[in-house]
């Protein structure tokens, strides 16, 4: 049994919120450099360079990369041998989000009720997903998600007979329908299998994988290759103003499902592929 005090979790969540909203990983810089070198359209090149300049400025000054610092989506992998002490876990996480968004001068974009629409003023509550795993560590990933891209999410319950072709068509339809709204170049998370909620969950988790890294399952990695090619042939390009770079990457996650089901969820992330993690 390892004891973790939830006050430490509050502190870590605060730091992760700020880090995720102001800095992008090395993986991001690599795929962006690569995209710039392969892009033919001068306007598209200019836009990509501007996004790099923006990311550099944000990292140097601690300013948010994008003003939509999103809803804080928090993924927990909680070791079953961890004993949490000092208070309520989810309260501690929300306190961390509150502190991070306040002390980091990040935008507060959460309303407490979807119909009454009153801003909570501190970006809480976070959306928290918890998985219980073996061991005695707690892994925390904070992934702020903006709404320009989240609003472009899609889910379709395909028929097993639709197969790979059906999946590819649905992903392409989703990316085309999203058009310029999610600030391309985008990152596409695709969740295949499971059921209604699992497909969405794994599509979102797919966005956490480093850019440029393929799914370890060969048949899924192959589908990813096919999808990135097809998505970048649409011609939408950066900001939807034309060009090759519509997506920086397409990540697919799969899950077991019913014999009669083929759920597919598409969760689009903007170029600001924001997430930061820590292990306690």
């Amino acid at each position: 049994m390892k004891e973790i005090n939830v006050q430490d979790i509050t502190k870590v969540v605060e730091e992760l919120c700020i880090k995720a909203c102001t800095t992008l990983g090395n993986d991001w810089w690599q795929v962006m450099d690569d995209a710039i070198s392969k892009e033919n359209s001068p306007l598209a090149k200019d836009i990509l360079k501007m996004l790099e300049e923006n990311a550099k400025l944000a990292a140097d000054t601690g300013e948010a990369i994008c003003q939509d610092t999103g809803v804080a989506v928090v993924f927990l992998e909680l070791g079953q041998d961890v004993r949490l002490i000092g208070g309520d876990l989810y309260d501690a996480i929300n306190e961390g989000v509150r502190n991070g968004y306040t002390n980091g001068y990040l935008r507060k974009s959460v309303v407490s009720d979807p119909l009454l629409r009153k801003n909570t003023g501190d970006n809480t509550p976070a959306i928290i997903h918890t998985e219980i795993v073996p061991g005695d560590n707690l892994k925390i990933i904070v992934a702020p998600k903006g709404t320009g891209s989240e609003n472009m999410s899609t889910l379709k319950m395909l028929k097993p007979a639709d197969g790979k072709e059906g999946i590819v068509n649905f992903v392409l339809e989703s990316v085309k329908a999203a058009g310029p709204n999610p600030c391309p170049p985008i990152v596409v998370g695709v969740g295949i299998g499971g059921n209604l909620e699992r497909a969405g969950y794994i599509a979102k988790k797919a966005l956490l994988r480093p850019l440029g890294q393929k799914n370890p399952l060969p048949h899924v990695a192959e589908l990813e290759e096919e999808l990135i090619e097809a998505v970048n042939n649409i011609g939408l390009g950066p900001q939807g103003l034309g060009g090759r770079t519509t997506a920086l990457d397409v990540h697919v996650e799969v899950a077991p499902c019913h014999i009669g089901a083929l759920p597919v969820a598409v969760n689009i992330n903007c170029h600001a592929s924001r997430h930061a993690e820590a292990v306690l």
Partner: protein, 179 residues
């Protein structure tokens, strides 16, 4: 790069062609969904608008709070489609001449742009930190209770935008996909 200083005249707008890269200096106003809803509701009740938008430009943006010593936090464009329901009223009845946002507009908005000889600019979505450096002065004009969604007056210097839909209704997004 075409340099424009606000307020821009109908003649200047007429000369802008889809895809032109433009840098804007001068005063612009901000508003998102919530502020649009209030303005349009106030107008329908015959109330006066909190700001005179005749000949002005609205920037669809909800910035991050300013850090100490700064005038504003990250401030890039938000998705314009959410304002489509209100935009024809802002053009037809408030006399707005330009909008800055990102993303496609509805056919109704494109018609209203043509009808009024207005223009729709797109900013680079996601470049909030960089665009914030072009904003030199910020003043809250109305609906302060809406926080980042309030109406602000921005004084900008060389804010980079692209003509997304010109006064004849030519649309940069449609053209990009046809290529």
């Amino acid at each position: 790069m075409i340099k424009l200083t606000t307020p821009i005249s109908p003649e200047e707008v007429k000369k802008l062609k889809v895809g032109d890269q433009v840098s804007i200096s001068g005063v612009i106003y901000t508003a998102r969904d919530a502020a649009h809803k209030r303005m349009v509701e106030a107008h329908s009740k015959g109330e006066k608008l909190p700001v005179d938008l005749k000949g002005q430009i609205i920037y669809y943006v909800g910035p991050c709070p300013a850090k100490p010593g700064k005038v504003v936090g990250a401030a890039g464009p938000t998705t314009s489609g959410r304002m489509d329901k209100y935009a024809p009223t802002t053009l037809d009845e408030f006399g707005l001449i330009g909008m800055i946002g990102k993303g496609q507009r509805s056919p109704e908005v494109v018609e209203a742009i043509k009808r009024n000889g207005a223009v729709y600019f797109v900013g680079v979505g996601g470049a909030g930190a960089l665009l914030a450096t072009k904003i030199k002065k910020v003043e809250c004009m109305a609906y302060e209770d809406l926080g980042c969604e309030a109406i602000y007056r921005f004084e900008v210097e060389d804010l980079p935008v692209i003509v997304g839909i010109d006064s004849e209704g030519n649309n940069a997004y449609d053209i990009a996909l046809k290529k």
